[in-house]
Structure formats: C-alpha cells, structure tokens
Amino acid sequence: MSETRKYPTPVTNPESAPFWEAAKQGKFMIKRCTACGEPHYFPRSVCPFCFSDKTVWEEGSGEATIYTFSLMRKSPTGPYAIAYVTLKEGPSLQTNIVDCDIDSLKIGQKVKVVFKPTGGAPLPFFTPA
C-alpha cells in the first residue's frame, strides 16, 4: 500500500502571486512580453528573451502536447509520469501527466491542464485531452 501523494503548497511571491490567484479561479496563466511578443513559462517580470520589463499576464489555453516523459518506478507514493509538455502558445514546461494509464503515454500526445488542490493555491498538472 503506497502513501497518497500530497502536493506542496505554493509559497508564492510578489512576482508570481497573480498566477496563483488566477489558479484559484481555475485559470492557467502565462506571461507574454509586449516588446518582443514572445510568451514564456514559468512567469517572470522581466522577459527572459529580450530583457524588457513590459511583460503582461495572459490566460493560456491549457492545451499542450507531450514533448517527453519518464515513468518513475521508484517512489513511495507509487509510479508517476514526469513530463515536459509544449503549450499551444509555444512554451514548454515541466509537469506530471495525471489521471490516466501512464503506461499508455506517447510523445506527441495531446494533453490539457487540470488543477489539483494543495493547502493553498491549486497546482497545474496535465491529463490526456
């Protein structure tokens, strides 16, 4: 019998707080730079590409495809799928693919965001679309 997986409560900070406030409303936010037009993830105040401070929040589609994954077999809470997914908007991010048969996952598979509760703001995960 494995332990149930518990997710850490996001600590948050002034730079990331709007992301977590939106998450409480079920919205998945990304940042976009209005100077160079590039979206990025995880969100920063200063664009990691052109270094402009003209970045704005934007609600993401939550749609993505699996870039790569690995099935972690050695875990006290049971096997889990860690992955990078590429958002429809462009950026790729690290996540877990949840609520599915992890042995059937494939690179290129379509996934969508799903929030899981913590002691504070919910955390974004992805699940097959």
């Binding site: 600590v11 077999r73 877990n96």
Partner: protein
C-alpha cells in the same frame, strides 16, 4: 589571454573508500587533500589557492579552517558550485588564477558520504513553486532526455547498455571499484526499470569517498618527480529551459563548453587518445559524446555500440577506471574522478590492462545538475608534456 599550458596538474588522489560510515565528511576532505599533496611531493604549507564546492560542509571558510590551510599565504579562494562538474570548472579557474599570478599551488577537494546517510536537499531557484511538486529526480530527469533522444534519433536501450558494458570491462581491473563484475547488454536490459527508459544498470553507483587535485605553475611542476601533465583547453557553459522556448533535451551544455575547450587547445576530437566522460547515467555519456563532436548528433547510439568505448577494443577508450557506472561516483558528483583517471592515463599510471598506449592527449568532460532540467557543463583538454 589563454590558459593553454599555464597550469599543470601535479597531484591527484582518489580516496579508496566507497563506504565510509566510520569517517566524517571533513575528515574525507582532509584525507584526499593529504593524498594529493603526497602524490605531488608538496606540503600543506605550499598551498596558496583553495577550491571546493557544495559538498564541503559549511562551505569554503569552514574547510579552510578545518584543514588548517596557511591563511597568511592563502591568496585565492573559489567555491564555484555547479554540481558534479564543479571540479572541472575549478581546474579551469585554477589555471586562470595561476596564469594571472593569483596563486601558484591550488588545492581542489571533493568528499562526502551519500551511501552512509541522506544528502541535504538540492537548492531550488525561482522555479520552485512551478516545478518542485512534479518530483524531478536525477533518474527521471535523465530518463526524459533518453526518451526524447530515442524518439528523435532511434537510439535504443541496447545501445545505451553498451556504455555500461564498456565501463564494467574496465572496472574488473580496478581493485577499488564498487562494482567489479563484467556485465552484458542482456544484464543491463534485464535489470529493473527505474525510470523509463533507464534501467538500474543504466545508473551510476552511489558511493562515499572523494578526491583531490593539486594544480600548479609550470616551474613548480617541472621541479617535481611526477610525469608532467598540463591543461591546454577549458570550457564551461550552462543550459536550462529558458522560459520554455524551443525546448530540446537531446543536447547538453557540452555543445558550448566542448568547442570552447577544443579551440583553446588547438586540437579536435579526432586527436583525443582517451576520454573521461561524465557517466551519471548511460544517456549522459551518449549525449555528451555527440555534443563534444566525437560523432554527429543522433549517431551516439551507433558510436557506443559493439565495444567502441572499451580500451584496447574500440576507437575511443573511455572511463578506464570503471567510471561512475561501476567504479566510483563520490558524493553523487563524478567530475573529480573524471579528471583523476585522465591524469592517470596521461602519466601512464592506469591499470596495464586498460592503459592507452602512448596516451599524450585526453579529455575530461562533465555535467552538473540535472541534464533534463538545469545543468552546467565543463570540458578540460589535458596533455602530457
């Protein structure tokens, strides 16, 4: 300015222990420092530069104090922390400091006991809230690289297994190796899956221990008894997802550190007689060989297959001490032992069964951090004078 030929590696020491419940971590640092000084034929009082990384308990100044370094003389200190490749970067930085006249005898130490007890948690950066929950570990971060490399280039588990097979062929001659048994491709494939597609035997060992280096000026090195080995090229680099744009986990920061080192040295991968390649996992070796230019990107699988990395059999003898996959990966950090075996080869001090004939040019290369998440890389080109 170049560091080419400005610094010599005069002393090396790899602690023989692989499990040290009876020793403290500072003690292991002291023992490896002592070993490297004795190897060089120098004394503690000669040291005027000291380098250590995150494995040093309390950081640099407690180690300086504990070791009893001569603080009136110590004039260059550096605690660059880039995980397992810290010591390759330290070697480059020591050469820079020696070339600039900032020190003349530099000590670099690594030691710790992950086999005996839990290690302190990995430091986290600005990404913590956005990644910590997903359970990235060394195994699955490298697993994700292997999965994508297989997808993009058709790399197979059999090809990865050949890397472990080669390491095991070398480890059988190393009396201190943690794993001394020769294994086959089938053994690797039949070992338990840890994090797909990496099996247990695709992973390095977890060992207590450590190692140390003494880096010095050409003048001092020439006054000593050991064969002279010098650093002729060095490169360092870092890589991460960088906002998630154009993510590509099939290459490492070695694509930048390698060419920088080769250019400074004025040599090419074809000239290299022996290669120490960081082997936290089999995939680490395969990707770095491609990134360093030993073969084209995507052709690493073919390159490592059929014993091509076995000394005396293949074209590129690698990790002739058995590497991190079989011999030693002290403190979960393989950079130090990569340098040490390269120096042994250049001195002609490797085990006769694995010694590369007339080995006068070698590479030691490594990564630190998590290859599939954020990491650094460093490349050292070493030459026997």
């Amino acid at each position: 300015m170049t560091i080419k030929g400005k610094a010599y590696i005069a002393g090396i020491y790899e602690h023989p222990t692989r499990h040290a419940p009876d020793k403290s971590t500072p003690q292991l640092h002291a023992e490896v420092a002592k070993g490297a000084l004795e190897d060089a034929g120098l004394t503690k009082n000669d040291i005027d530069g000291y380098f250590c990384a995150g494995d040093a308990p309390g950081g640099l100044w407690p180690m300086v104090d504990y070791l009893g370094l001569n603080t009136g003389k110590l004039r260059h200190i550096d605690s660059t922390e880039t995980g397992g490749c810290s010591y390759l970067i330290h070697l480059g930085h020591a050469a820079e400091a020696i070339a600039a006249g900032k020190c003349s005898v530099a000590l670099i130490t690594l030691a710790g006991k992950p086999r005996t007890g839990p290690m302190p948690p990995r430091a986290s950066g600005a990404e913590a809230d956005f990644e910590a929950a997903y359970g990235a570990t060394t195994h699955n971060a490298y697993g994700m690289c292997a999965m994508r490399h297989m997808h993009d280039y058709g790399t197979t588990s059999e090809q990865l297994a050949w890397i472990k097979v080669a390491a095991s062929h070398h480890a059988q001659y190393n009396p201190n190796a943690f794993l001394k048994d020769v294994v086959t491709v089938e053994d690797v494939l039949n070992s338990p899956m840890i994090s797909d597609p990496l099996h247990r035997m695709d992973c390095c060992v977890v060992t207590d221990g450590g190692g140390a280096l003494i880096v010095t000026t050409p003048e001092i090195a020439k006054s000593l008894k050991k064969p002279q080995v010098r650093l002729i090229g060095h490169g360092e680099a870092a890589k991460g997802p960088r906002g998630g744009k154009d993510l590509d986990l099939t290459y490492s920061a070695g694509v930048w550190s390698g060419p920088r080192a080769f250019e400074e040295a004025g040599v090419t991968p074809k000239d290299i007689k022996y290669a120490s390649i960081y082997d936290s996992f089999t995939i680490t070796v395969l990707m770095q060989l491609e990134d360093l230019g030993f073969c084209k990107k995507g052709e690493g699988g073919k390159f490592v297959a059929d014993g091509n990395l076995i000394s005396g059999v293949g074209k590129l003898p690698f990790n002739t001490d058995g590497g991190g996959l079989c011999n030693n990966h002290p403190v979960n950090r393989g950079g130090m032992t990569k340098i040490i075996e390269a120096i042994r080869q250049l001195r002609g001090e490797a085990h006769p069964k694995v010694q590369v004939p007339n080995c006068d040019l070698a590479i030691a290369h490594g990564t630190g951090g998590l290859l599939g998440v954020r990491h650094a890389a460093s490349t050292c080109i070493l030459e026997r004078v």
